[in-house]
Structure formats: structure tokens, C-alpha cells
């Protein structure tokens, strides 16, 4: 098995890629995809800590349960967010977040 630090570093790289995508992309669906990358990076972290620290933490592995819950919540979030994006496209004929300024003062 690879050392813990290497797992953490690759998940940090994946998270940063996700941050870059969220900040630069204009299409709302593409921003959602980048959010998925960030969620997965965090899940990798949780699983890595659960596995590598299982003995140190009295044979519990809460991180895996959390990663499981993250998957479920992400599925719910994607369903709702894509519903909103489709709705937005129907009302404003665009899926680009910088063209949606309904709430801008």
C-alpha cells in the first residue's frame, strides 16, 4: 500500500483542480462537475484516514461511513442542481452563470 502522505497529496491535487474549475468555468453544469471532483477528493481523504488510522483509533472506521454518506448527498445535490439548471435554461435561455443576474443589484 502507498504511504498515507501520497494518498493525501493526490487528493489535494484533485481538490485544487476542482477549485480551479469552479472558479473559471461559465457553464453551470460544468461547475457542478468540478464540484463533484472536489467532493471525491474529500472522500478519498476520509477513506485514507479511516484505513490508515483504523488501529490507532480503536478499530473504528467512521471515515468510510462518511464517504458513503457523501456519495448519497452528492447524488441528491446533483439531482436538485440539474433541475435548477434546466429550469434556468427554460426561463433565461442560458446555462452560463455570469449571464444570470436576476438577483444582482
Amino acid at each position: 500500500m502507498p504511504p498515507l502522505e501520497h494518498v493525501l497529496v493526490i487528493s489535494a491535487i484533485l481538490f485544487s483542480i476542482g477549485v480551479y474549475g469552479v472558479l473559471t468555468r461559465r457553464n453551470a453544469v460544468n461547475i457542478l462537475m468540478s464540484v463533484e471532483l472536489m467532493l471525491n477528493a474529500v472522500s478519498i481523504n476520509m477513506v485514507a484516514f479511516a484505513i490508515y488510522g483504523r488501529v490507532a483509533f480503536d478499530n473504528t472506521f467512521t471515515g468510510i461511513i462518511f464517504a458513503f454518506f457523501i456519495v448519497v448527498v452528492a447524488a441528491a445535490e446533483v439531482a436538485l442542481a440539474l433541475g435548477i439548471v434546466v429550469r434556468l435554461f427554460r426561463n433565461r435561455a442560458t446555462a452560463n452563470v455570469d449571464e444570470v443576474n436576476l438577483l444582482k443589484w
Binding site: 494518498v7 493526490i10 489535494a12 484533485l14 480551479y20 472558479l23 471525491n40 456519495v71 439531482a79 436538485l80
Partner: protein
């Protein structure tokens, strides 16, 4: 270096490459396809970390359901038909923020002392233990999360319904 580690570094390289593909692809459908590869690679990392249960969940929920939803949303919003700028104006700032975050993370990871077991002594986690914990200690959160899922699905259906009089 053991065979597991070689496979791990290959998967990690693959994951980061397809992650970059998601963020940088010019065609938005290619982004979605790169996302499948990235999420599959994450499932591979779970297998290396001996959590096959999560890897299967990942493949079923992300690799199939979430990607399906994303592709449907791309189809319904006709993202490909209208050529337009893909990136906003703040690309340099975003790059600085992402690079700064990455540097901070790596510095923190290197500087910390992790009280972990020796990687070679780690034993695989059997399916059954996860199931036992999930349905005893975590039974209530498990039920709550299923209610959340049902409400989210109902909300998504409600949101995407046409208004009265709309065609």
C-alpha cells in the same frame, strides 16, 4: 515498490489527467466523459485502499446515475450548439487561488506527523464489518439520509415540471 503501489500511482496519474480534462476540455460533452474516467479512477483508489464496497457504490451511483443526469442536463440545455467563451474573465486569479491552495495543502501534509500504522500491516476491511456498523451505530443517520434522498428526488421532479400554461 510493490505491485499495488505501481497500480496506485498509475491510477493516480490517470485520475489527475482526467480531472484536468474535466476542467480544461473545450467541448463540454468531453468534460462529462472525462468525469466518468476521473470518478472511475477514484473507485480504483478505493480498491487500492481495500474498501471495495465504496468502490462499487462509487461506480453505481457516480459512474452511472450522476453521469446520466449530467449528460441529460447538457442535452436539455443544448450546451454544445451555441459556440461561446468557455471560461470566465477571472482565469489568472483562479489559477493563483488553486495553486496557492495546493501549495498550502502539500506544505501541511509534509509538515504534519501522522500517527498511522505501517502501510504494509494494514489488513483489508471486510464488507461485513461495514454493514454491521452501518445498520447498528449508524442506523439513524442511514434512515435520515434515505429520507433526504427521497425529498431531493421529489424536489427535482417538482422543479423541472412545466408551469401552468407553459408548453
Amino acid at each position: 515498490m510493490s505491485a499495488t503501489e505501481i497500480v496506485f500511482y498509475c491510477i493516480a496519474f490517470f485520475m489527475i489527467a482526467s480531472g484536468l480534462g474535466v476542467v480544461l476540455a473545450r467541448n463540454i460533452v468531453h468534460s462529462a466523459l472525462a468525469l466518468i474516467l476521473a470518478l472511475g479512477a477514484v473507485a480504483g483508489v478505493y480498491v487500492i485502499l481495500t474498501v471495495e464496497f465504496l468502490a462499487l457504490t462509487q461506480l453505481v451511483v457516480y459512474g452511472a446515475a450522476v453521469i446520466m443526469l449530467v449528460l441529460f442536463a447538457l442535452m436539455l440545455t443544448r450546451a454544445r450548439e451555441r459556440p461561446q467563451a468557455l471560461f470566465g474573465k477571472n482565469r489568472p486569479i483562479a489559477f493563483v487561488i488553486a495553486a496557492g491552495l495546493l501549495t498550502a495543502f502539500i506544505a501541511g501534509i509534509v509538515a504534519s506527523e501522522w500517527a498511522t500504522t505501517n502501510p504494509d500491516d494494514i489488513e483489508p476491511l471486510p464488507f461485513q464489518e461495514i454493514g454491521d456498523v452501518l445498520f447498528s451505530a449508524w442506523a439513524v443517520p442511514f434512515e435520515v439520509i434515505s429520507v433526504v434522498l427521497v425529498i431531493a428526488m421529489a424536489g427535482a421532479i417538482l422543479l423541472s415540471q412545466p408551469d401552468q400554461g407553459e408548453q
